[in-house]
Symmetry: C2
Subunit: 496 residues, 2 copies
Amino acid sequence: MELLSKFHEMLLKQKAYGYVLNIAGWDSATEAPKGAFARRAELLGIISGELFQLSTSNEYQEVVNGLFEVLDDLDDISRREIKKAKKALDKITKIPKNEFVEYNMLINLAQRKWEDAKENNDFAGFSDDLEKIFSYTKKFVEYYGIDDHPYNVLLDEYETGMSMTEYDNFFETLKVDLVPFVKQVLNSGKELNDDFITIFYDAEKQKVFAEYLVDVLNFDRDRGLMKKSVHPFTWNTHSGDVRFTTRYLENFMFSSIFAAIHELGHATYEQQIDPKWDATMLSGGTSMGIHESQSRFYENMIGRSYEFWEAHYWKLQEIFPEQLGNISLKDFHLAVNKVEASFVRVEADELTYPLHIMIRYEIERMIMSNEISISELPKIWNQKMVEYLGIQPKDDSEGVLQDVHWSAGLIGYFPTYALGSAYSAQFYYTMKKEIDIDELVKTNNIQVINEWLKEKIHNFGSSKDPLELLREVTNEDFNPNYYVRYLKEKYSKLYL
Amino acid sequence: MELLSKFHEMLLKQKAYGYVLNIAGWDSATEAPKGAFARRAELLGIISGELFQLSTSNEYQEVVNGLFEVLDDLDDISRREIKKAKKALDKITKIPKNEFVEYNMLINLAQRKWEDAKENNDFAGFSDDLEKIFSYTKKFVEYYGIDDHPYNVLLDEYETGMSMTEYDNFFETLKVDLVPFVKQVLNSGKELNDDFITIFYDAEKQKVFAEYLVDVLNFDRDRGLMKKSVHPFTWNTHSGDVRFTTRYLENFMFSSIFAAIHELGHATYEQQIDPKWDATMLSGGTSMGIHESQSRFYENMIGRSYEFWEAHYWKLQEIFPEQLGNISLKDFHLAVNKVEASFVRVEADELTYPLHIMIRYEIERMIMSNEISISELPKIWNQKMVEYLGIQPKDDSEGVLQDVHWSAGLIGYFPTYALGSAYSAQFYYTMKKEIDIDELVKTNNIQVINEWLKEKIHNFGSSKDPLELLREVTNEDFNPNYYVRYLKEKYSKLYL
């Protein structure tokens, strides 16, 4: 079919532009000197413009629309590709160009205003922009012409197939089952021997342990690498080149350890995708939520397990004999699973984390349903913090202003963070039936776990939608009870 | 002038493509994992193809040719730009496309055949390809339609303004004045206390000293960085982003020290270029020769001087107390200036280095004048080694096959290596009249030297041709006597 090969040819060219922009992005985030950026912005702007041109050109639109009209004649894979291409194209081309440009300017400025507002605890100085961002978002959703609740359109954008129906059920489950349990844990009165968490650990030595972890988790160094950056992230272009970063905070070593393990989860997913998807629209991990499920599985179910530290604590003690020589494995393991009510999402522990997300979901849902105004946000935020976590932020900087996301126009994105953990629990109980996870972790046989993940999940790239993949792997629709069960089992044992 | 701004717009776009390809190149050379390269080749090939398209399009040719016709109406800078653009364009467009493609395929294969030939000491296995490369080169030069000796066309390509007239005079000077002096030094019977050169030096510690050198030589870390790679090189995109590499050979520490200083010379040149040239055809250093003069000046005149080690030897001793604690400054300084007849150019010392280049120049000159055949190369090579350096290679691998250049089509390039050192001596004596170099080096005031270089040389980017720049700085045409004088003064003191 000639139109289809024309499509793939155009796609390959777009991928080439995306590729060089990706490499430049990696360079920017990990090593480019300050002086690079002024001219870099100008030159990369030109290449981005070329890519935008290619991906919205009349020629490309004709090809995609032409194929969309004959969708039924296509094989399954091509059909998925064209649907995805069409969806992406509609989102860009249905918005009037001038509004798209205005919005992007707004977003760029808003992120800087948010920074100032956060620094100066000045919600009022940012609320106008936030108002505008939400109102643009609502307008854009209308342009898409999808006959659904506007928030559903956004939720589906970040996690195909998810809507308020599923998320309401998810968070309701957490509210009913998890919130009381969290309070029980927080009030357990358990005392930890954990002073060693915040003492000094040399960054170079932390790096030695992070490199050890890269090998322990069987990351393929011929097809990737670890580096450091201010904010840890995973970067990939195809399964042959997957990189990630961690960071070394000398007064909080756990940051480097669990950031490395978390990113290794993302990176292993990308490394294990079948290269046959590279040239298609179905390359890369399938969704935010599934990606997060892989990183959370690594971080929490492997990395914070007792068995993991049975296998590897000796190494950390060897590197830091002064700091950890006298700390027992049991105390160490308790400390890596310390539960605390805290204000800031990114510092939250595994157990309280989803409650932070729940607050954001509920707020987004209300704004997108026109139930509350932007000016009410600080008040509502603080009420919910008290309700779910029992603590009240001292100001908006550690409250409603803490995250960059809304200032960047990311609305509907937050819920995928909690969803990832919930998915990971559902995968976990399926995997547990087939292989002995604890034993494999304890005996340092992560490769067997990786193989399972590859065969069931990673291999497929984006050729399956997230909920479809979940169903095929676990024989069940999305079921948040696994998540609550997992958290209760784990933290009852540790705290109650 | 509308055509001129059209030209600059097209140029900017080409620069943007060149920029992303440069970033990818840096990534390839310094960190991309093995697995990246297969797909990388495909995707970068597309971007390179786009750039080739842009830089040879009919539209671009019309603009450049249009401006070339009204050269006299342009301001001085635009005139230089257009001349340069026209020259580059003619070189690509005058060669029939099929021959250009054939040649590029030949070059790609020849480099791999050369590798094999070098490894197996098999000149015959490579000579057919070498024959073809020279014959393509001759044919291409004819296409250019320049009424001059073919070798002159190549010499001018790598160093604008240079021809056999200047080079013959240059190498004749070396042959008459330097060769006998080198023999005198080689036969001086001077014995060095230099066992410490090849003992073990930990790579991580070598890096500490290299980083120290970066600061000593006043490199601006906000606008660049040092990394490691297999072969040291300098990379830059504009004065705000200049990077270079060194390498750490644990049994030859001098390699990292002098590679770092050498590349710092290149890098400082690029950092000190006025940013106003960035958007023009006149960006970057002006020529191979001038660039090499800056790196050689740093490496040899600063880095191998007694004063430099008076100022910094303590630091190296502090890092390597076991290896250097008992080595005197005098012995150390002698060792970094050790003279030895050797077979391999890249390992040659400062004094014998130009004689290695002389051999290559004489051979290239004879081939391009059809005076010898390719099959005679090994014999001629060995004769010249005996004549100039008094030693005979045991085989072609350490003789005529040692360098990659010819297999990559780089003919007329070698002479710029020696020319750079000669330029640097001519600059040196001019600088000496104006500032006290020895004192500045000894008291660690490199910034004053850098300022001088910036004001006289670096600032100008490519807005002046090399010989024009040399004349303006030194008030004299190129004069190789300074080079011989410098070498004789230095090595008489050390050896005779």
